[in-house]
Every structure is written in C-alpha cells, then in structure tokens.
Symmetry: C2
Subunit: 413 residues, 2 copies
C-alpha cells in the first residue's frame, strides 16, 4: 500500500492506490513519474526474443530500478538471476526471495564480506557470485572465509578490465595469476569471468575496445579452463551493460570448454529504456544487429515525468514544476516530449524541440522555446539514463496510453 511517503499520492487516493487517476488532469500531486504499461510490455517481449534468438541468459542489473515489482516481471520472464551492485543489494534481493545473484562488484569492507558469508551460511540454496580483480582481494576474501568457518565456498568471477578503464585486471597475465590464486585458496571457488565492457560507452573507439575486452575474456576463460581452475558445474561468462549487451551475447558463447558455459548478460535499463542515451545506444545496437529489428518496434521509452507549467514569466521562457529531485540529469537533461492542456486537448500532443530545458534547479525546470503554453498546461518529459530517475521515486505509477493509472511499482533505494 502506498502512503504519505510516496511523492505523488494525495491522501484521498491512498485507499485505492490511485487506480483510475488521470495524470493529465492533475488527479495526482505533481510532479508524477509514470511507466507506460504498453512500453514495459514491449520491452519485456523484445528482451525475451533477444534471449531466445541468442540463447544466452540474463541477470538484469537491479540497480536501475530497485523495484520488487519490476524484478518480479524480470523473473517471470525467465531471468536466470539478478545483478546487484552492493552487499546491501545482495541482502535486499535475498530478502525479496531472489535465489541467484551476481554481485557485480567486489566485497572489500569487513561488514560487506561478513554479510555475504552469513547469507551463504544461513541459506544453503542461495547462489551468489561476486567479483575479484587482485591478489590482495583474493587474500582478504580467503582470510575472511577461513575465519567464518563457512562450509561452502564463496564463488567468484574474475573481473576482466582494460587499461584506462575501471575495475578489472589489465592483462591476461594478471588475470590468470588472480584466477590461479582463487583456485588455490581454500574456501574460494572460481566460477567464471566477468567484464563490464560498458566502461567504454561514448568513446569514439569504444566499440573496438569492447571487442578487445571480449577477446581477453575469452582467452582468459579458455586458459583458466585448460589449467583446470574452475569449480562448479558451469563456467559463467558474463558481461553486457545496456550499451553493448548484444556484443557480449554474440562473443561470449563458447561451446568448446571442458564444461558447459553459461553466458549471462546483465542489462538493467532495457525494461524502462529511455528517450535519449539508451535510445541512441539502441539505435547503434540495431545497426550492429539488424536482425534484432524483427521483433516489434524495438525498445520503447516507458519512463516519463509529468509536471505542470507554473509560470510563463517572459515570452518564450517557461517554468515547470519539476527539478533535479525528480528526474536524472547526468546523461542529458529531461526532454519535453508531450504537451497537454486540460479541457482542450483530447490526448497529449507530441512535441519535439519546441521546448527545451535550459536550466534545472532542485525543484524547478526552466524551458525555452516557441510553443505557446499557459499556466496550468501539463508537460510530459522523457529522461536520459533511467537509473538516476528511478532513484528519485519511492513509487512510479503504471499508466495506459491516456496516462490513466493502472497500478504502481515501488522502489527500494
């Protein structure tokens, strides 16, 4: 049940969770974040088709939405697991009943390590895979495991990086040394190789660097297998943020190792998609993989934030009632995509470029442009990078095409 902690919900809608509320008519408090149900359904279907066509698994990165309801949709769609960013996320996912988690980060702090080991000790069926990229990291984890007395191993994926990148070993030689250390450490198990190739997104030579990273992953995975370093029934090869998951799905499929390879992509943004960054990245994906255009209309922007015009203080200058506390701005400012005048328009009127946000304050957006708007008009904003908009909301409302509320999802940031 939603309550007074949920930004858009007026008290008179608490009992019915706002079903039927008309966002465009101001039935909810502004600003309002919505997810278009049709777009969510299209995105889920598209990803199912992609996974079927490529034969790979997905562990969607939950950090995007941190929404139990969206997680449930992803699991219902057959997700192999979920990806977590922090030990706290791992705990929360376990609390939500998720049985298999890739912790796409490294356990370093004492409490973080203890939490992971406690979860493994307390729930023998819970599967967790964390990362490591250094001998120092291996030693810390091995020591903690030894002290814990845990009766099952801590499963690790070797993190492959690249010079100038983020975490991850910088060379195959470094990688195999760390892999050997994991395999040799009592209490640790090497389960596969991990990469976050998205670190090079936005760089002109990014695609080439991605291919080189994937070459390294394959070489390292093969060498580690030849040396017999893996434990477990499968070898996990995982990569694929939301920018290059197609490349990981194509490249990290290796049928020739000594045991079955499980290829796992981790895109978290596909379910909401967006109107800017991931729209562009998806267009690039379709250029690389034209066959992916066969499944419906492709990924659709589901996430919108709606806010009213509160002031038109100068010709061509408009102030809308949304700000940094409501929408992300780290990968481009929100885009004014729809205009609606209550009592006049029958449906939101698509706009593009007629109004542009030129300044974003904590709670106000300054727009400039040619569109004639009045105080009380309502604007629908698309966003760029869904993660940093989701984390500004404890609830987002599911809406139909008329932006009438059909349900909601919560978030646990």
């Amino acid at each position: 049940m939603l309550d007074h902690l949920h930004k858009s919900l007026p008290p008179w809608h608490e009992a019915d969770d706002a079903i039927g509320a008309r966002v465009l008519e101001g039935d909810l408090l502004f600003p309002v974040a919505v997810l278009r149900e049709d777009a969510i359904a299209a995105n889920r279907a598209w990803m199912r088709s992609f996974l079927e066509a490529t034969g790979v698994s997905i562990a969607p990165h939950g950090k995007t939405s941190m929404s139990p309801e969206l997680f449930a949709m992803q699991i219902a769609d057959g997700a192999w697991g979920m990806t977590a960013a922090t030990a706290h996320h791992v705990r929360l996912y376990h609390h939500l009943g998720i049985r298999r988690v890739i912790h796409a980060n490294q356990l370093v702090g004492a409490a973080d390590i203890r939490l992971a080991l406690d979860l493994l000790a307390g729930d023998p069926g819970f599967e967790l895979y964390s990362l490591v990229d250094s001998l120092a990291g291996v030693e810390r984890l091995a020591a903690a495991h030894r002290q814990s007395g845990l009766g099952r191993p801590l499963c690790l994926l070797l993190e492959m990086g690249a010079p100038g990148g983020r975490t991850g070993v910088r060379s195959r030689e470094e990688g195999i040394a760390v892999a050997r250390a994991v395999a040799a450490a009592p209490g640790l198990a090497l389960s596969g190789v991990e990469v976050f190739e998205g670190v090079f997104q936005g760089q002109p030579d990014g695609p080439a660097k991605v291919e080189a990273m994937l070459d390294d992953v394959l070489a390292l995975a093969t060498t580690a297998d030849a040396e017999g370093l893996y434990a477990g029934e499968e070898i996990i090869l995982t990569g694929g943020g939301s920018a290059f998951f197609d490349r990981c799905a194509r490249r990290l499929v290796v049928p020739t190792l000594s045991r079955p390879v499980r290829t796992v992509i981790r895109s978290g943004c596909y379910i909401s998609h967006d109107d800017n960054l991931y729209r562009r990245l998806f267009a690039e994906l379709l250029e690389r993989e034209p066959s992916c255009a066969a499944w419906g209309d492709g990924l659709q922007a589901a996430l919108e934030v709606w806010a009213p015009v509160q002031s038109v203080p100068e010709p061509g200058r408009i102030i809308a009632a949304l700000g940094k506390r409501d929408a992300g701005y780290d990968a481009g400012l929100p885009l004014a995509r729809f205009h609606y005048r209550p009592g006049v328009h029958a449906a939101p009127v698509p706009i593009e470029g007629e109004l542009v946000i030129t300044g974003l304050y904590d709670q106000h957006a300054v727009l400039e442009g040619t569109l004639a708007v009045e105080v009380g008009d309502v604007l629908g904003f698309g966003i760029s990078h869904p993660c940093t908009t989701f984390d500004r909301w404890r609830a987002l409302f599911l809406v139909d095409e008329a932006r009438q509320v059909t349900g909601h999802v919560t978030t646990l940031f």
Copy 2:
C-alpha cells in the same frame, strides 16, 4: 528503527541501530553516509547566533535533508516555520507536526491545490503560505477556493523574480497588478512578498542582481502596504537561499510599514553545510559580513560519505566503492578528504588534492593521484551541494570525530 531498507545497515546491527559501530573499521556496509555531530552542533549554534544578531526569523528549506530528526533540531533551535518545495512536502510536514509552512513554490495542479485547501480546512491552526506570480495563477487559486467552500483564506506571498531568472514577476508594475488581484480575490489573502535571490548564484554580476531584486521586493512591499493590500497581522518578507541569506537578513528588515514586518530567511543547507559549493559561498558571505566570523569557526562540513578502495588496477588509478547513487555530483564531484588504513592509522589522515575523482559511475568512483593506497583502505569524501547527497540515503549515521556511530537520522524523500 532502521531495517533492511537502509543501505549501510547490516542485519546484526538492526537491534541496536548501529550505536558504537566503527565506520572506519568497516563495521557498516559500504558506502556509508555520515553526519559529524560536532559539525551539526557548530552549525546550529552559528545559525542561532546569526538569527540573534540580525533579528530575523528562519524557515529552513526542508528539501535539503527531508529528515524529521534534522527538522526537529531546527524547530528546537527556534525556527519560525519550515519551507516546503511541493504540495507533497506540505502534507508530509503537516503529518510530522510542523505548524507553519512556507510552500516556496506555486500551487498549480488540481490535486496540489485541493491538498492545500483540505489541510487548511481540516486543521484550523495550520499556517500555510504559498506563492503566486501571475494573474492566471491568482484566478486558478481563487476559483479552486471558491469551489472548495473553505471558510478561511489561502495565504499567498507575491513572488518577485527578475528578467532572465526563474519564477516571479519581472517588474514592480507586474507585481503590484498581481498583488491587487490577490487582495481583490475572495478567498485569497496577500501575506507578503517572496524572492529567491539565489537564482543568480554563480554569476559574476550575481551580487548586483541580488541587490536589485531586494530593491524590488522592498519597493513592492511598500507600495502594496500603501495600497492596503495585505491581510493578516504581519507582513512577511522572505528570501534567502543558502548563498545570500545574509543579504536578505540585512535588506528585508523594514520597520516603517503599517503593521509589523516578519523577515524570514530560508537557508536549508546551513545545518550540514558542505566541502565545496557552500564552503565557497560561505567564504563570500564572511567577506561581505566580517562580523559573522565572530561566532566560533563558522559553518562546518558535516556530511561525509565513506567508501573503501576496491581496486588499484594501474599506478595512480584507484577505484573506490561509491558512485552517483551515493553522492551528489551536480555542483562538483565528491572530494577525497580523508584516508584511513585499518590497523595502521590511529585516525583519518586529512588529504587534499592527492587523490581526485576523475570519473563517477553509478556505483564506482575512479580516482587519480599520487597517494599510495591499498585495497581495503578507506576514503572519506566531502560533497558539494548537500541536497543531492541527502536524497540518496534513507538513513545517515551521526558520528563522533572517530567516525564511531552515535545515532542516526532518517530521510523521507
């Protein structure tokens, strides 16, 4: 009580709310956001001195922290009211027992207006002041009040703006026209004049523009008084974000009107302060008002985020376990301010410039610099613009100088 929804709290600390946990030793899950108790106390004392010296009132902007515990401190310190950014905030504040609220924004959406009128109808002692800057706005509010049948007026502050600024009337003439419309509208009451002069913060001619805005506020306030447009026992003149509140406290004190003038500043950031944007702005304030340097050491940065070094993949390149989901980045990236090596250092070692964040991902920070660090070292980060760090946490831990937990505050974003 804190629980599994609070990012840094491991399960074994739920029962004791983490009192005594040593952040530096990794007793909590990383990253951890902390508030230094000594700095909070110093900031509260400083603001009390400022208010006493200037004789003005404060309604701190709650959007900064949205923390009931920090609100309680501010009210205990004698705050005249609290400032809200949205109708949702107004409702939440009322729920928290706050009796006087400046809604420093305009009520536009149907539900937003209804919520405000409902609160006024249901709680005769609740005081609310909202803003208006246009005849269109006045008409909407008057119509809604008429339809509601509310037996008391909706109190409004005329919002004074400036050309090229945000909301607010652009001239004294426009302002007096709106003020007359408010005074003439049944159901509406003109309670004073509001300005957000902080809109020009960061501009070379910002200070001059601030003075011009304050001139306009005074002129408008005086004219409206001469025309007998005010209702209520006091005339409220309010301005003062965290950049220029000294100027508002000096300039908006007018003893010559027909009834008492209540000057209200609205700084929200003073209680946590920061290490970058507001540190600079406070230095500018002390230059303008050297007498303010008399009260202790001035405002102190209370808010820190702590995270471990998880990887040192290349010489001079360090990856720490915090990111955009943990710390604000809209007014400068977090600053590495302290280095601590468990088992080696007795206390955090101050650093400045030896390590600089050069890239911030959702959950990782890339640092470059000369400081020799190892996997497992812990770094303390100062932040810039507290608002956008507070809203990434449901709980922040109060700590002593050793960063040992003494309590916590929650947030309700």
